[in-house]
Symmetry: C2
Subunit: 405 residues, 2 copies
């Protein structure tokens, strides 16, 4: 008689963004006339740029010919893409070689799978609030203990609050974790750390034998010079940090699916290399990212591709500024939006995050993401994204500005 | 201090096809003049067909426009594809609804991930020989006990030998497993079961509370009328079977990446639905298959798409017949190749599988797959695939026919 993985049953409710999608669908059905503006899920809306489109058409054409057809991709990615990625690191003065880059179908898959490398009793730490996948994937693997519905915390996770009170800079925990997830620039708060602050984390990790999973999905949005784009800009990071990267937010690949993980060969313990383990995992459980997609990824690194994605990022960052400044002007307490496409605001009048979600949807037909969905310290906060169209962003801010809260 | 998942260290050696790739690369480097013919890995070689190519170009164009851009796909797949797949089941008289279909980036990912639904102490059974992913993914999850290097078996796996001695029909094991993986038509043996034989397995599973993971990646190659294309053609299968399907072998998508899993709502135990668990897993750890790829998948189900993939399958099956008949004529003991693109042969003179691999590569520069790589009962067997070009297949059979073995 088959037995289920009972860890799944521990998860309270469903995946955050599935919940939101259901709520919005129900509202839209009940209010067919409502002109809903979606600034909830971090999904881009601008089309793929011409250089990417051309690369994909060319690759599709190749796949239709005997000479140009490509079957199974190399497990870890085509050299043409791994080399292009390594080139970007090199240009940044960062030491990452092509064979330390593992191409995948996206950073969500990688951030959910990376925990498979660790023992069952690995103690993880996450910032709070945090992208839910880090926690949920560990819960499913039975690594987080039990859910405390009152605290809204897992008994075996170490939470690192990031709130206005500590200026969104996490403090080193008194209990040392085995693995810590850091997403910088941060999803959901839109805040980040300076290079010096991140260096402190790297030094702390090396001193304490902690492994850092560094999610840099939003690095393209960094505008301030003292914010690092890669954790490997910090001394010693090659010995203690795995970096996750995405093409979703810089090049608009949310519906194309491409990402990569950097796993330096220096991360070795007791003679066992995490690089080799991750390679084994890729070889056994994944069949490579599609040829066409990897050609699209390569095009991102061309000179013209780079120009185009800079425009794309600028488009969204203009939205971010509109939201940030508009809400601040309307009297909201607002964070983020400078090095990230997310704006993090305090719900007015001490409303709960979900109450504010319902309120915004009902009163002005705007969808955001309740901060509490990202962790207990996200309660009373709310996330808006800059990924809508310019026009919708303007309209949304206008609507919110007129609200009586 | 982070601790690794020590189950990875239990895996003897690397993934089978990575091993083969390394051996062949070394041979090719040492013998640059060698005209190597690859009939090893089950990778297709024919280009994508015109209807697929057109669908992909159209979808790429859409992605380049504001109106046609698609971001994150629905977690479980676009309705247009799920409906098309459900339609095929309906045409076959099989009861599968669109919302029981979970679209993914390929059957390898799904067959590696499906074990996450089960408890740690789940006892699995596999045919022997078997596609390595079923075993390796369970080993990585710590579910298979220890490797017995002498028996070449895992202590906690129940093996179901399929060899010439039992006509490649597995016997019901005396010890009842919780979950059994059946791949039919079979990879690697190329053999299959009749509908009556599979019905016996479904009845046995229902009687004993066993869950069947049914991998139907090769169903398009079935030529005999009494062989089922789907396990749901058998009575009662909706209560005990999950079906995995792929676009790799029917439509040549090995480098495109698309597959799906059918998880009927009837599979419920103690009120817990595996369908809901798999949906949660998709939502949390996967971000949907790409829009362009799903449009390509939809094109497979158009009338013209179906005509084209039938031609593709016929092309490879002609190769299968050439290999099967040519080897039989040359005095080899040969199986498979009638309902599957794989030919399974006995290595001559009681050679081991790997010795025959080396011998074939060295003497006639042909790459096959050692049967022992698929499990202990595969020892002394060898797999050739029909996925080469017609010309190479002819040449390969001619070379093997002339060998002095």
């Amino acid at each position: 008689m088959y037995k289920i993985n009972s860890n799944f049953q521990k998860l309270p409710g469903s995946y955050l963004f599935s919940d939101i999608a259901r709520k919005v669908a129900a509202f839209a059905e009940a209010n067919p006339q409502a002109d809903i503006i979606r600034l909830g899920i971090g999904d881009v809306t601008r089309p793929l740029t011409p250089t990417i489109i051309k690369a994909m058409h060319d690759a599709v054409d190749e796949m239709g010919t005997e000479e140009g057809f490509h079957g199974y991709a190399p497990d870890l990615g085509y050299d043409f893409l791994r080399d292009a990625i390594a080139g970007e690191y090199k240009d940044r003065g960062v030491d990452v070689s092509a064979d330390e880059i593992f191409v995948s179908d996206g950073a969500k898959s990688d951030s959910a799978a990376i925990q498979e490398l660790f023992s069952q009793d690995t103690r993880i730490a996450v910032t709070d609030p945090v992208y839910p996948v880090y926690v949920d994937s560990n819960v499913m693997a039975g690594r987080c203990g039990n859910w405390d519905a009152k605290k809204e915390q897992w008994s075996d996770i170490i939470y690192l609050p990031v709130t206005a009170e500590n200026d969104f800079v996490p403090e080193f925990p008194s209990q040392i974790p085995d693995v810590v997830y850091l997403c910088l620039p941060n999803n959901p708060t839109g805040t980040t750390l300076t290079k010096d602050q991140l260096q402190d984390w790297v030094d702390w990790a090396n001193r304490n034998g902690v492994l850092i999973i560094f999610d840099a999905a939003y690095e393209a949005y960094i505008s301030q010079p003292d914010v690092p784009h890669s954790i490997y800009e910090c001394r010693g990071a090659r010995a203690c940090a795995i970096e996750l990267r995405s093409f979703s937010k810089n090049a608009g690949f949310t519906g194309v699916r491409l990402g990569f993980t950097v796993l330096p060969r220096d991360i070795v313990q007791g003679g066992i290399s995490l690089h080799d383990m991750w390679a084994r995992r890729h070889g056994t459980k994944f069949n490579g990212a599609p040829y066409i997609t990897q050609r699209a990824g390569q095009a991102v690194y061309s000179d013209q591709g780079q120009r185009e994605i800079r425009e794309l990022v600028a488009y969204y960052m203009k939205n971010a500024k509109i939201i940030h400044d508009g809400l601040a002007e309307a009297g909201f307490e607002v964070y983020g939006g400078v090095n990230a496409p997310y704006i993090w605001l305090k719900a007015p009048g001490n409303m709960s995050s979900w109450d504010f979600f319902d309120y915004l949807l009902r009163e002005v037909n705007i969808v955001g993401t309740p901060g509490s969905g990202f962790g207990p310290s996200g309660e009373h906060y709310f996330r808006l994204t800059a990924f809508g169209s310019y026009e919708n962003t303007l309209r949304a801010v206008e609507r919110i500005g007129k609200m009586k809260v």
